[in-house]
Subunit: 328 residues, 2 copies
């Protein structure tokens, strides 16, 4: 049994193009019905504004599967601790024997989430889209931007955050990354302004009220909504889902209860009978993706256990090959 | 973060009386509504006759909580491996920071399950009951018997297993434990015979068809049904639940979907409106337990996350105090 810590994992897994086919394959398996993925388990600790989620997925034919714990404790920054934490456990599919505990502290979750954003952008945004609006200024804001830059040539970035200081810090910290890019970065004064300047929009907040309205969205825009992963979270006015040209869930079963779709269903704006192509369907057959240059597309990402299984297997194999970690 | 392995844990946690109040307190918290315990997550891997369950529970006021993975892969013995496996993760309730990974390989689950059997027997069986019938011949058969002996003076043990060789092996291995006891152990040829000789019965099998019928049960018998922990598992004819004098679930929400109660509800033998005192209610107020010497009582154990949190905290504290484990 191999114990891997974050330091081990970071050495071999970072946000790069190689991860895209790994996560794409996971989404394809999911949409083809080859995955046994139970509903997410959630432990809410309201007193401390904390929650721990457990996700898991077994993919037919794979020799291992992951069970992942991801925590978000939103008072942690006051204590000088990161909000996110977690680990992944990799089990042998044939025997249930634990192959590895990956003490990644949420790093692999952050990474596979960003890669899903890259994949959504790759299949749904216009090829020549070069402006990105990022709503939110946390870790995923930065990672989603980096991930999009793996698949599109971006030269303009617009950021909006409820806290303007954080938006400015975000821009500064992104410049500090020194990615040797010719980027025009600036802070928008409103989400409306942001939308008017962006061909791709990513929402990365834990907002409980819509931040974007349909009227603000330019023709041809692609939106990745990745902040909403719980019943009460909601970043898009549900009418955007109704009036857009294409709505794509990572997993419709999940987005119906946790994602943006949940709110559209609850308000009877979309019928629960409607069946959408999932991200995996489009990866498998890209002709199902964006049809016209003018289309408004949405990808609703709630985060799936199958992404965790894919990245845990990838990280484990690389670390093992490189003799990292502690054998117990 | 402290990594504890089974060897560390076994040094300080074994099946003894000290664990009874620890698990009793857990059940009391559960029945008082002080526990946030999400539904069990299950990953079924039918191809390999395997399943992994995830259980978790946060108890109000406690500074840590556990998330537990327990696997059962029933072809493992053919490969020379134990069927059961698993680990527990202990998280800080205030920050979500992982305090410990307990690589117990299912040992703590086995132990807290056996202790629940001791508790059921303590509150529900007659004080002077001295004969135990054990249905099944696996690990829990042995542990349940040992646990009952912590709370009742047993001098007669009757064992039944579908596989008579296993029943004989069970008796031999129990004798080999050399517990210095004056015990009359023998194999029954049927569950009917077993019931006719037992004042306490424990069912410990993964049976999908009832093994015990109501007519076979003597007046005054207490039955602990602990094998059924999944929708399809069923050890007692549902009429036993209907006609017994007292039915006690560990957690009615769980036994309604996974335990013996599930089958009684499904067959409309018991109404889903009926509310039963749970084990924790009876621990909290023992006058709610057995009323008369002649009563037939049943305790339906499906295994609860709150037991896992209790035993993980107990094991962690003892191992930490004794400087065991690896700090990462």
């Amino acid at each position: 049994m191999l114990i891997l810590n974050k330091k081990d994992i970071i050495q071999h897994v970072d946000l790069n193009k190689n991860l895209i086919p790994i996560i794409e394959e996971a989404f394809i398996s999911l949409s083809k019905g080859l995955v046994m993925m139970p509903p997410i388990m959630r432990i809410d600790i309201e007193k401390y504004h904390g929650e721990s989620d457990v996700k898991a997925a077994y993919v037919e034919g794979l020799d291992s599967f992951a069970i992942k714990i991801a925590s978000g404790f939103f008072d942690n920054p006051k204590l000088g601790l990161p909000s996110s934490n977690g680990l992944m456990v990799l089990l042998d599919s044939k025997t249930g024997v634990i192959k590895s505990v990956l003490l990644d502290e949420g790093y692999l979750t952050d990474t596979r989430t960003a890669i899903a954003g890259a994949i959504a952008t790759k299949y749904l945004s216009n090829q020549n889209a070069n402006s990105v609006g990022i709503i939110g200024a946390g870790i995923q804001a930065r990672l989603q931007l980096q991930a999009i830059m793996l698949v599109r040539k971006i030269n303009k970035v617009i950021v909006w955050s409820r806290d303007k200081i954080k938006a400015n810090q975000f821009i500064k910290s992104f410049k500090d990354l020194d990615l040797d890019l010719d980027l025009d970065l600036h802070v928008a004064s409103s989400c409306n302004e942001l939308a008017s300047l962006s061909e791709i929009i990513v929402t990365t907040t834990p907002s409980k009220k819509p931040l974007l309205e349909f009227d603000w969205i330019k023709k041809g825009t692609h939106i990745t909504a990745m902040g909403s992963d719980a019943e009460q979270k909601n970043e898009l006015d549900p009418h955007i889902l109704k009036h857009c040209d294409q709505y794509v869930p990572d997993n419709q079963l999940q987005t119906s209860v946790l994602g943006e779709l949940h709110h559209a269903l609850k308000q009877n704006i979309i019928s629960s009978k409607e069946k959408f192509n999932e991200l995996g369907d489009i990866i498998n057959d890209p002709s199902l993706g964006r049809k016209n240059k003018e289309d408004i597309t949405i990808c609703d990402l709630t985060g799936t256990g199958v992404q965790d299984t894919a990245i845990a297997r990838f990280a484990y194999n690389l670390c093992k090959t490189n003799n990292l970690g502690i054998n117990i």
